[in-house]
């Protein structure tokens, strides 16, 4: 079906990449890319890091220059969102009043930042960090002497905290759990990040439940905690997770779990003409023998490849090891895999040197690795996770033995 009209809903990292890959793989039919944001697909990771610190500009954020879409014969429609999906008619209604007919549909609608349903959430200065527009607002609010409160000690929160300090702001991170990164990283890593951030002047309030925001003339001036304290601030970034934009799929009767349920080709299990990729997809991960939803660029790219390959009839991409990264101060955190069913946490190296790795093992198999400033541990960890080769734990725990020797 090489002349099929492929409509892609969502022009983020996943949708933008799928459009480009369809052309790269030789798809000859029409491609329409619909995006809610006013600009062409761009990279989100730098928004909390290089871009916020002024080290990257809009051109370098863009996945492709704007001209690319016309040159590649991709009908890019910015500033428009899909309102309804009619699977029987194979049409999508858009917010500009038009209706698009599709042969194949790719849902790449992503996820949205979760808002806190608490008093004062509507004050100006209470922000999220999801889009380039969000980042623009945050950049304007952060600078020397400004007080920034970050609600949520996850990756977004910590990256914003690090960038905020680099820009000279006073930063306090408010976390509901009693440790940072509670949902996404192991305890040794939480402790390490806390210490490192504190050395760089970030303050933490752990076990702090945020109950509201206080403000003057409609602008936030503080965050209220459950214990009654008010933390003064000029701006707030709320980073407490994201929710998949799967309402369109649900309303159209597609099976959803934590997102739109798809198979190994990123194809909806309910409709062979519909794919779902990136943050909105609930997908199989064969190496862990389970399904889950991931929010990461590598996941978006992988699924864009899966869908584009299936559409043009290329072989399915080889099985991947999921991974992600985070940059904070001069730390490079690289994570491979997920610690499902792990029964042991093994530390390699000394956290005091800011160069170490935490391996999560199931028996003698590596399930996941979290590597700080340790590319060999990350790169070899990825290989070990994929090939399921048992490792010698004593060797793995000894940083004087190279990762190549550990894996030999």
């Amino acid at each position: 079906m090489s002349d099929a009209h492929v409509v892609i809903l969502g022009a983020g990292h996943a949708g933008g990449t799928a459009a480009a890959l369809l052309r790269q793989y030789g798809h000859a039919g029409p491609v329409t890319l619909v995006g809610e944001e006013p600009i062409a697909p761009y990279q989100r990771p730098p928004l909390s890091k290089a871009w916020l610190k002024g080290e990257a500009d809009a051109d370098s954020l863009a996945l492709k220059p704007l001209e690319f879409y016309a040159e590649a014969n991709i009908d890019f429609r910015p500033g428009v969102r899909a309102t309804t999906l009619d699977r029987a008619a194979k049409t999508v209604s858009l917010s500009d009043g038009t209706t698009l007919a599709y042969d194949l549909l790719i849902l790449a609608t992503g996820a949205r930042a979760i808002a806190l349903p608490i008093p004062g959430a509507e004050f100006s200065g209470v922000m999220f960090l999801r889009t380039a527009a969000d980042a623009e607002a945050l950049k304007a609010a952060v600078g020397p002497g400004r007080q920034l409160a970050v609600v949520g000690g996850g990756y977004i929160g910590l990256e914003v905290a690090a960038s905020g300090r680099a820009l000279g702001a006073e930063v306090v991170v408010l976390e509901r759990e009693d440790r940072l990164l509670a949902r996404v990283a192991c305890e040794p890593l939480s402790t390490f990040f806390r210490g490192y951030h504190e050395q760089h002047g970030v303050r933490f309030e752990l076990g702090a439940s945020v109950t509201g925001f206080v403000g003057e003339a409609g602008h936030v001036t503080g965050v209220t905690l459950a214990d009654g304290r008010v933390i003064a601030c000029d701006a707030v970034v709320v980073g407490v997770g994201a929710h998949p934009n799967d309402e369109l799929a649900k309303a159209a009767g597609l099976e959803t779990a934590r997102g739109v349920v798809v198979d190994l080709d990123a194809r909806s299990v309910s409709d062979p003409d519909i794919f779902a990729i990136g943050d909105v997809a609930h997908r199989p991960m064969p190496i862990y023998d389970r399904m889950f939803r991931m929010e990461s660029v590598p996941n978006a790219l992988e699924q864009a490849k899966q869908a584009a390959s299936a559409i043009v009839g290329r072989p399915r991409p080889a099985g991947e090891c999921p991974w992600q990264w985070s940059d904070q101060f001069d730390l490079k955190l690289q994570i491979a895999g997920y610690p499902f069913d792990a029964d042991q946490v093994l530390l390699r190296g000394d956290p005091a040197t800011a160069k170490f790795a935490v391996f999560h093992l199931k028996g003698n198999q590596v399930q996941a690795v979290e590597a700080i400033n340790s590319p060999p541990e990350f790169m070899m960890g990825k290989i070990l996770i994929l090939n399921r080769k048992p490792v010698n734990k004593a060797k793995l725990a000894d940083p004087t033995i190279s990762m190549k020797e550990v894996a030999a």
């Binding site: 480009a20 370098s60 492709k64 660029v297 990264w325 940059d327 490079k332 590319p375 790169m379 070899m380």
Partner: protein
């Protein structure tokens, strides 16, 4: 501006004018050239923008950083002229650069 020739593993050549200040990786990705994945967008976190730099350009493209070195150490098919193309900044001095892509970026 520098004219850069990207040669796919299959031998297909792409000659692209790349703006000064971009990386050799960005020159490929922004022009939708196959063979350079660049999953991390240039953060030196993934080693999926591996290229072979034509011998006579090795000096002008500079040396590998420590981070790049240790990432490359675990990539497939690494040779003495291997580089991560996200770590090579384009300057006028690189006008005429030729890089070749490996068979796969994994």
């Amino acid at each position: 501006m520098a004219k850069i020739t990207y040669i796919e593993h299959s031998g297909t050549e792409h000659v692209i004018d790349v703006k000064t200040g971009l990386s050799v990786m960005e020159g490929a990705v922004k022009n939708n050239i196959p063979g350079i994945d660049a999953d991390c967008g240039g953060a030196c976190a993934c080693a999926t923008c591996h290229v072979y730099v034509q011998e006579d350009w090795l000096e002008k493209t500079g040396t590998r950083s420590a981070m790049e070195e240790s990432m490359l150490d675990f990539a497939e098919g690494v040779e003495a002229n291997s580089r991560l193309s996200c770590q090579i900044k384009v300057t006028d001095a690189l006008d005429g650069l030729v890089v070749t892509m490996p068979e796969s970026q994994h």
